[in-house]
Subunit: 243 residues, 3 copies
């Protein structure tokens, strides 16, 4: 990615200082990401250097986040037809930025038990990227949040590896207090734009839900489902990918 | 709420100056809110101290807004299962921030007859919180705008007391100029994520509309409705709550 | 518009410096727009004066953008019942701001062949206005993006003249790489809130799609269609307008 960023900086002099300060100047992806997110998540409440060291600490403490970040970048490059190079994902995709903010907030919530700080990051994430992921939700690796605006993922939701989530998707609760009230989504699932999945329902591995779908009952693995509420219209097994 | 904020400030040193300047340093909820919103709604057009005094003046002139604010905070605490303490609502819920921005803009529009200023606040609200409420709409007390991203409430819409509105809900117009063209929603209504209510239709007290519903005809009180367009699938009377 | 802005500045002293610096102080609409957008699209990566000269250069190079801008302003004034004066459209409508950001990014992509810069503008547009239009999409003149939050328009999409697009509308791809994979929308089309149009489908001139509709097959001209997926429920010919 450094090499691609260097090539871009050669092509576009206006952005050279941005590319240098965001990518070329850092010795690790973690350091680069902390710098980038800190500029986006800072506020009158917490200046960017504070946010930066908060993020860096979380990334250094839990090395598994670094693996998740790399899998997420490759997920966008592989699945988004409009994506042409790695620095673009890293610098410009707000779905990627929100997802990494969640990963840091999740670590702060779970490992450091600092719910107040995690809520601060969630709040800034929602205001900056319009993506609202509860720090206590559990998300796998290799996830693409495409376009991103309006995605909401609730506190007890679970999302497997290699899922693709389009904009306006809701993994919402049943409204009951203090219980496991959000959806459980398997691996390799694709949820189309505007899909709502509500309550503690299970979506099996490899399912695909069409845009605008409403899911309020379980879906068996590899279902293709559309409608409000969704009906299963077929099944899908992609032999070329191993989710 | 001051006491809870004080406890949080003891737990989380990184946020202590934020909690002090936003809550502990103020002698009234109104003063605290004006400070918080001013930081979020300021721009090159109007610096935060100007916005702050604008908001404070409106809150002092019309004391009924203060009652509405308190009812709104309690509404989130009572109805959002992920909400654990009052300062979180006040500091972090952008649905709450947008709602209070509307309340101020509404007062400026109605009482002071300053439509240009009210439009400025509406524009900043939409850009900052992605929630677009026309200053001339009428909203009751005890309202929760959950998650918030994408909510649109039009000029001649009416929303009763104790309603819960999820993200992506539209109370939209019929497209006709100069007439009463937006929905009239009763008390204690729940509109699920992505619901669109279009035209001058009436939704009765205590109705519940499922996620992604499209409402283009009147709904009698306590209906439960789902679909595009919605069909009534049952009725709902909550004996534990008095909306 | 200068005259209306002057009148507003007389009515509202708090906004007088904003109105002066944004409108009254400029000798052309292009200069005024470049100033306004630069303030909204700047970031740590590119300061507002850089963005301003970038926009001004693009507007001076391609004079047809100026005509499109004027048609877009009139479109909002004519079609939005809540719009009362021209400066309001220009200063406050984020759908208008995002659309003009796209027009500049499109020129930079096509004429100057600077994809990296165009992607920067797209990314800032999505973060600031929550409207994500690929710089390589082709959009006609006289377009209104009403409310705007959540609109997504993909790389190979085409949108004709005089279309009205409500919030949460998606012109999305089929997911295939490297092919013409987005919708082709004719002139004078109205797409209601939350409509998703997916894949390389054609929507004929003068069609109207109801809120929340899912379009995955072609629609003949002047169709009125609703549902998930949409069904044609009638036809519409507006004899008073010439789209």
């Amino acid at each position: 990615m450094r090499w691609e960023a260097y090539q871009e900086s050669q092509r576009e002099p206006l952005l050279v200082s941005f590319l240098y300060s965001s990518i070329l100047n850092h010795d690790s992806l973690e350091s680069s990401l902390a710098f980038l997110l800190a500029n986006k998540l800072s506020s009158a409440a917490m200046i960017s250097t504070q946010v930066q060291s908060l993020i860096l600490n979380a990334l250094h403490k839990d090395r598994s986040i670094g693996r998740a970040i790399r899998a997420d970048i490759m997920a966008v490059r592989d699945r988004d037809p409009a994506c042409t190079c790695l620095p673009d994902v890293f610098l410009y995709f707000k779905g990627f930025h929100a997802l990494q903010t969640y990963r840091v907030a999740h670590a702060i919530w779970k490992t450091d038990n600092k719910q107040v700080l995690a809520h601060y990051l969630q709040s800034q994430m929602s205001q900056t990227f319009q993506i609202d992921i509860h720090p206590n939700a559990t998300l796998g690796n290799g996830i693409m949040l495409d376009h991103g605006t309006g995605i909401v993922i609730g506190e007890t939701a679970h999302l497997g590896h290699n899922c693709s989530i389009l904009h306006h998707v809701t993994l919402g609760g049943s409204g009951k207090k203090g219980v496991d009230r959000h959806p459980k989504v398997g691996n390799g699932v694709l949820l189309g734009a505007g899909t709502s999945v509500l309550g503690n329902v299970k979506i099996g591995d490899g399912c695909q839900v069409g845009a605008g779908g409403l899911v309020i009952t379980d879906l068996p693995p590899h279902s293709v489902a559309v409608g409000v509420p969704v009906k299963i219209i077929g099944s899908f097994v992609d032999v070329t990918e191993q989710p």
